[in-house]
Symmetry: C2
Subunit: 560 residues, 2 copies
């Protein structure tokens, strides 16, 4: 791993996801013929991706260079870092490295996708050292985040060390004493960091993110005051938060009911792997709820984002099979809405209030949630621990990356050494010089049902059109001999207007189509394409005049 | 107006919009045969109201009782209070009462709707006293809000006084010295308030909302530091904010360019009516921008909500015809995103940063915006000024109404005298006793293009289906004689899959349809309805198996 002078070999760093967006994190470090991938996440669809279930990164660069890919290293077990694995591993069977809880969560996912057997999985811990290919060595450092067992990665390359922070905050009073390894980070910084890739999620937020432990104090206080049942909704993956709910229940002598598929899953995995300490007999089944006093019960559930099918939303709508919210219950939503989910969360809160519950949420009590990402002072602390030569802000929308870049300048990094990248943009480092150098293929791969990548811009544009003003199908049969209209036009509409109330309009539309066809045919226009576009134009114009709407028009011309 | 004892006459109060929602405010006070309507607003569609442009209240109660409606009183000129007027006045030609600026904004709206001539409009001021019918008298009090000329209304009825606050905050250092009339409010409270309807928008926010003037100080500071052009996007109706942008421009010797249709409109109306003081020669045309130095220009524009067609969004996308954002420009988004708009605003900010602008927004600098609605301490102040017997929180989602009710309890109102209502719920007051008493018709009337109320649940459900997985139209021609397939099936899909990449799937689908029809006809099933539902079922099942999608299927069977 000695650097050869003046070679053509170079270090290349880029993102296939996670920059210019929140989600589908995937970063690539390549030296010569050795490629290491960090994380393989998914993203939830933007509101203009109608009907799409999930979005993953375009990995064609990796599949084209599959022989060079030495490893996928996973920094922690959140969906935006592991959710793409079932799709990625299907096309790229390479060894997977992750810490214990992360691997536990991944294995659960791979089992569902029938990929567990064929995937090589290597358990690492903070002391692991991995030789990857002939040029790269990876070591790790523990960080604090809203899920246990999160790590940052340092990759030694012949050009120098590349550090990827993973998602992090600095929690000086962490739950379960999982401290961030400041000493290891300082040591890495001391040895010299060529390039730092660091989490920008909270780069807009001044100050320090409060400790997770502060939430525990608030929770216990609410549990103490509650005279009936307490329901706590939070992210299933936030094992520390779950531990604090358990602790509050212990302190106030309540049993716990766990509700929601992903919550049940995570509680099982985290308990089994030793990340969650729940006393024997503490957890009861939903069926047992009514056997004990309401002031002896705490319910831990999913639905903190108001997801319509989640446990909490069902309870709020009184459609949950096992649990009803009763007047006097206390419901804690221990999360903040992810941008885009505010309305769903608001609706859930309203519905719970209507049932007579007291609802405590971040809008009414800031103490019930803290972020898992470091704020500006923590980002500066990381920058100063690492003192990198080159800095690439990652994990954030463009404005967050840019704020993070400003923080970098603030602690003294040369602005010319800070790279704001989009997905696919490569940063090449050779002989101590870095530059932006072209693009690799990158983009959104849309997953809709079983289809991966079979829905693209045209399909989405059609869905958008259909969703706005619906569709009119115009069917007409022409005679082969003389081009006369044999039957129709028949107009069938969906998503356009109430047919019953708009009969006049549709009759009129019929006449417009008939007269258009008669006119065109009298002008000897008889290619179907021209007839169809004539019908589309004239009917479209008529409907827009009458309704100011532009439904999709699908003319179907038959010949007999 | 002397109260007759033990009559069957009663006071009824209800909302046709504005409770359990933010938007389409419309409140009704009725005594005997006299009805007064307060405000007639619109609401922007929820995300599940696909293709809908606007939502207004169902006013069938008012049209059925049109002879009793004495007035529509409008408290201020925001869309959620005046936006429904063009639709309401078309069906209910009653006199309209509003203050000067409010009336100016309404008249602009009615002119566009060709309703100006036929609507009786009466200018009021804070000292007006209106006799409405034989039993009601309305007086007014000035409030502070994010638009000038806002008022609250006190309606004297034989049962007692009903007070409607309108939207309000208490701004002790208002721009343009438009003070809230504390003395008048105290006097109304002193005389006795039977029922108070009060704005709940910020009932979740502790403390006091800062003065609008605090924004002016921040703006001027940013203007001073900016070395090139300053662009300020804010709500067009926020005339005080606009005045402060003008003041900052004066203080830093900049000319102002006004961009965006509604901004140009409001600046013209507010200047003409004396609500905006802009020195002669201060405003220049967009075409003149490049004739003066970049440090001598401020651009005032629409688009603070990231609306895709707004001036700021166009500039951010570099598609504005007249103004380009240049590196080094400073863009201030002087607003917070309305829930649901966060992503649009975020995208606009990102795009502006990418153009090299410095962007200052509420996420990075809280000082560039303050709310127009009072926080908890102000709501309590209003409650204590009025000391009502009965309290009806209005203007808010359910959780806000509920928080407001708790504030009411906190200042000593009997919980039994606080009414949380949904739209249509009536509160009847008779002989000093109040009770919830049944419902009047109420709901959402959806406006799509020129159509008012012609889009309902079925159309929306179809649009939703179409937006998720698209549509397949299956056309097949059968022979009249023997039921044989003469031509087809032809399958045309939109919004389902890329046709080119899914030929195999569609060929297979074709075979499924053919064999289904042949099987049914061999079983002598030949009613079209049965054939169609057979095709729908078998094709739907096949496609779901293959793709996990459920496109709409529209079978069209022709006969020759």
């Amino acid at each position: 791993m000695v650097k050869k002078n003046n070679t053509t070999e170079k270090l290349t760093i880029f993102a296939l996801g996670g920059v210019g967006e929140i989600g589908k994190n995937m970063y690539v470090v390549q030296y010569d013929d050795d490629i290491v991938v960090i994380d393989a996440g998914l993203k939830f669809p933007e509101e203009d991706m109608l009907g799409i279930d999930l979005v993953i990164p375009d990995i064609s660069y990796l599949t084209e260079n599959r022989d060079k890919v030495r490893a996928i290293i996973v920094t922690h077990g959140h969906e935006d870092h592991i959710g793409g694995l079932p799709y990625v591993l299907k096309h790229l069977n390479v060894p997977l490295y992750a810490t214990k809880l992360t691997l536990g969560l991944i294995e659960n996912k791979l089992r569902e996708a029938n990929l567990l057997g064929e995937t090589k999985r290597i358990l690492i811990d903070a002391d692991s050292e991995l030789k990857l290919g002939s040029t790269l060595t990876a070591t790790f450092f523990r960080t604090n985040h809203s899920i246990p067992d999160s790590v940052g990665v340092a990759i030694e390359t012949p050009e120098g060390n590349v550090v990827h922070t993973g998602d992090f905050k600095f929690d000086h009073t962490p739950v379960n004493d999982q401290f961030a390894d400041l000493q290891r980070m300082a040591e890495i910084g001391q040895k010299g960091v060529l390039a730092l890739l660091s989490d920008s999620t909270n780069a807009e937020k001044p100050g320090f993110t409060p400790s997770e432990r502060s939430v525990g104090i608030v929770l216990e206080d609410i549990f103490r005051k509650a005279r009936q049942r307490v329901v706590v909704a939070t992210f299933a993956s936030n094992v520390h938060r779950i531990q604090q709910v358990v602790n509050a229940a212990i302190a106030t002598d309540r049993k716990i009911v766990v509700i929601g598929r992903s919550m049940v899953n995570v509680v099982a995995i985290a308990s089994e792997l030793g990340y969650l300490e729940i006393p024997e007999g503490m957890i009861i089944e939903p069926e047992e709820i009514n056997r004990i006093g309401a002031d002896r019960v705490a319910i831990l559930c999913t639905g903190s984002q108001g997801e319509p099918m989640s446990a909490l939303s069902r309870m709020a709508r009184s459609t949950h099979r096992k649990v009803d919210i009763l007047p006097g219950d206390t419901v804690i939503i221990a999360a903040t809405p992810v941008p885009g989910n505010e309305k769903y969360v608001g609706r859930t809160i309203d519905a719970l209030f209507r049932l007579g519950a007291e609802v405590i949420y971040s809008g009414s009590n800031k103490g019930v949630h803290v972020s898992g990402h470091g704020s500006q002072e923590e980002l500066k602390l990381m920058l100063n621990l690492m003192r990198p030569k080159f800095f690439i802000p990652i994990h954030g929308e463009y404005r967050m990356l840019r704020k993070h870049a400003q923080l970098g300048e603030g602690v003294g990094i040369d602005p010319n050494n800070i790279f704001l990248i989009d997905i696919g943009d490569t940063v090449e480092i050779q002989n101590g010089e870095a530059r932006k150098a072209g693009k690799v293929p990158s983009g959104n791969v849309l997953i809709d049902g079983l289809g991966v990548g079979d829905v693209g811009n045209i399909v989405l544009r059609d869905r958008k059109l259909l969703s706005q003003d619906g569709i009119l199908v115009v069917v007409v049969t022409l005679s082969k001999q003389d081009g006369r209209i044999v039957s129709g036009p028949d107009i069938i509409s969906r998503g356009f207007v109430y047919v019953r109330e708009s009969e006049g309009l549709l009759d009129e539309a019929n006449r417009v189509v008939t007269s258009t066809l008669q006119r065109l045919m009298s002008e000897n226009v008889n290619e179907w394409a021209s007839l169809k576009s004539g019908v589309k134009d004239s009917l479209g114009r008529f409907l827009f005049d009458q309704t100011r709407r532009r439904p999709m028009i699908l003319p179907i011309i038959m010949e007999v």
